[in-house]
């Protein structure tokens, strides 16, 4: 199997709050550093990646964040317009057909049409968009919606094709489906945390992804703590009297979290047949480019 960064599309999935956007940004940064033209597509309501690099939101226009590193916010309405115009070609006809009250109803009724056009746009960037005779992007990183919704999102082509077999949209859906099933061109990563609920969800998500034959990418265990104190040191520090009360509690908290990290790493290694990469907890809340860079270094081996 080819390395993750040698593929066309890397999808980053996981439970909400596990750090999907952080990992997406770090994967994209690592890719850009290798000289690959990289695009991050964010499909959730609020975009975050540009902010990590100290840039204003990209919006629906592709923006350069760093050399080789770009991001775009994929929103349903704009994606629909772009997508429909590619198929219909005539702006006037598009307006007549799509921009009226009745069509809005129809568009809402079509199963997951918003997801379809958003995924369609991502697919187009990953496998169709050309520049000077070659594909414009070496790698597209998709920061996918959270677990349940993320799975629905990736399954959209399959669901759609069950209902519709003809027409341009169905043809493109087949293209997407084949990209999403090709381990040479696509990898689906899972992000989780060393906590019970996120770990359980990662296990279920991994199973669901494999059952649907999405090509395996790495499992990222985000926010891990490494043990720093031997049991004896911990015992001494926590019983060191009032002068060591603060330091002792801090050490005790740290070891508790290190123990949870080790425990869930074990559980996940057992249950999830993907390579697991630990991403250390970062002691900062405003994630700047330095934080993303540290994550990128931590995951280098998995790429």
């Amino acid at each position: 199997m080819s390395g993750l960064l040698d593929r066309r599309l890397v999808v980053v999935t996981g439970k909400g709050g596990t750090g999907k956007s952080t990992l997406s940004a770090a994967i994209a940064l690592a890719s850009a550093r290798r000289g690959k033209k990289t695009l991050v597509c964010e499909v959730v309501a609020k975009e975050r990646v540009a902010d990590f690099f100290g840039r204003p939101p990209s919006g629906t226009q592709i923006r350069e964040l760093l050399p080789n590193l770009h991001s775009v916010h994929v929103r349903p309405r704009e994606a629909m317009r772009e997508y429909a115009l590619m198929t219909i070609k005539y702006e006037t006809l598009y307006k007549i057909a799509f921009e009226n009250a009745a069509a809005r109803y129809f568009l809402a009724a079509a199963p997951s049409l918003a997801e379809i056009v958003m995924l369609g746009k991502v697919w187009w960037h990953a496998s169709r968009e050309m520049e000077r005779g070659r594909l414009r992007w070496d790698l597209v990183v998709l920061d996918a919606p959270a677990t349940g919704h993320g799975l629905t999102f990736l399954s959209v082509p399959e669901v759609f094709l069950r209902l519709v077999q003809e027409g341009p949209l169905a043809r493109d859906m087949r293209g997407m489906q084949s990209l999403l099933a090709d381990p040479q061109r696509c990898g689906v990563c899972v992000v989780t945390l060393p906590e019970e609920m996120p770990a359980n969800e990662a296990i279920e998500l991994d199973r669901a992804l494999r059952a649907r034959n999405f090509p395996d990418g790495p499992l990222f265990l985000n926010g891990t703590f490494d043990s720093r104190f031997s049991p004896q040191e911990l015992l001494q520090a926590t019983r060191g009297g009032p002068l060591l009360a603060a330091a002792g509690e801090a050490a005790d908290n740290h070891e508790a979290r290190a123990q949870l990290s080790a425990q869930y790493e074990g559980v996940l290694r057992e249950a999830v047949p993907r390579p697991l990469t630990r991403v250390p907890y970062l002691f900062e809340r405003s994630f700047g480019v330095q934080a993303i860079d540290r994550v990128a270094h931590a995951i280098e081996g998995a790429l």
């Binding site: 429909a84 009745a102 109803y105 069950r162 209902l163 003809e166 060191g240 009297g241 603060a246 050490a251």
Partner: protein, 381 residues
């Protein structure tokens, strides 16, 4: 004020907030507290990952109300005066029940339930889970079997999605709109609408180029089956919304001290406000406690001295004192950041009672853990 005061008299608690902030755990903890206080309580959770099932030691929940075994409470050293029940929302079942209830005849219900598009739409449409969660709360509340219902909402990206999910889905089912779009495919006949084979009319032909005409035919078929039911759905959804926005119900914002989630919590609060709903309480989970509250040395020379006084060898690489100092600093940094964020939330939500639950040493996955959260919420800990 403790949490119980903040929601006194309410019969429905909706826990809302972004994903990963501990909504499910919080909802279960609130239900446990009410059960301990003597209420017959149900926690309704929506969850493919069976989070609540895990946390309460339940294997199967389905769409059935399941009582938490009294023996589980006893094991945790708890003796509730009331009862705690749990239910996991089964999306498809709830939809099917609703269709059966609203259909004018068994034949109509059957036609809808067997329609391929209905099966996809009901489970895949955006907002479907939110809509059915509200529907289920309404049903359970009206059954009169529970004195309190706690709803663990799906991790909706925003409050508007939650409160307006039903409206958006019902727009889709609105037959008037159907007649406008699909009109050219339908002909009014003696027995209602009749389906024509091919799409006609400019709008329809253009749309068909986009989706294929199969889909349009399926859609028209579904709409025909649904004929006459829209008003009933609309009326019921109106009642559901009225209940959730009445004084019977309270919205509890759940968040973590992460700036992104507090931002979303504020957004949620504003969206509720726009709908005329007050936020009854805010719960901030996983707030780092500041180890410096114990006082004592927090810099390297002082820590070295403290180790010496306690006759602890300062060895290892890096030295024990250096590791202790780094660890203390890291956690102090986190505590500062969390404090600042909680303070910011407090300022922005003036007048809304705010409760902090500290980051606990262990994951909360059982009744004892839930009870520990309750103690923080009631100010006992």
């Amino acid at each position: 004020m403790n949490f119980a005061d903040a929601v006194r008299g309410r019969k429905i608690l909706c826990c809302v907030g972004s994903g990963g902030v501990g909504k499910t755990t919080t909802a279960a903890a609130l239900a446990l507290r009410a059960a301990m206080d003597g209420k017959r309580t149900l926690v309704l959770t929506i969850d493919p990952a069976r989070r609540l099932a895990n946390s309460l030691g339940l294997k199967e929940m389905g769409n059935e109300e399941t009582r938490i075994e009294p023996s589980l409470f006893a094991q945790a050293g708890l003796h509730p005066r009331g009862e705690m029940w749990a239910m996991m929302l089964d999306l498809k079942h709830t939809w099917d029940d609703l269709v059966r209830r609203q259909a004018r005849s068994a034949e109509q219900a059957k036609a809808i339930l067997e329609n391929q598009l209905y099966q996809t739409l009901s489970t895949a449409m955006a907002g479907s889970i939110e809509y059915m969660a509200m529907e289920k709360v309404y049903e359970v509340y009206n059954s009169g079997r529970f004195e309190l219902v706690v709803l663990d909402t799906p991790p909706t990206s925003n409050a508007l999605d939650f409160l307006h999910a039903a409206d958006r889905i019902l727009d889709v089912l609105d037959n008037n709109a159907m007649r406008i779009v699909l009109g050219p495919m339908l002909r009014a006949g003696k027995f209602g609408f009749k389906l024509l084979a091919a799409p006609s009319g400019l709008v329809l032909r253009t749309l068909a180029r986009f989706t294929g005409s199969d889909f349009l035919r399926d859609l028209a078929g579904f709409m025909m089956a649904f004929e006459g039911m829209y008003e009933g759905f609309k009326e019921r959804a109106g009642k559901v919304k009225a209940l959730l926005t009445s004084r019977e119900a309270a919205f509890v914002l759940v968040t973590s001290p992460n700036p992104h989630t507090t931002q979303e919590a504020l957004f949620f609060h504003q969206a509720l406000h726009k709908d005329g709903i007050g936020t009854a309480a805010v719960i901030v989970n996983r707030v780092q406690r500041d180890p410096r509250r114990h006082g004592g040395p927090d810099n390297l020379p002082a820590l070295k001295e403290a180790l010496q006084l306690a006759q602890i060898k300062d060895t290892g690489s890096p030295l024990l004192s250096e590791r202790l100092c780094q660890t203390l600093n890291e956690q102090a940094t986190l505590a500062d950041l969390d404090r600042r964020e909680v303070e910011r939330l407090h300022q922005a939500l003036r007048g809304v009672p705010l409760f902090s639950v500290p980051r606990l040493r262990k994951d909360v996955h059982d009744l004892a853990g839930l009870w520990q959260i309750d103690r923080y919420l009631s100010g006992e800990d």
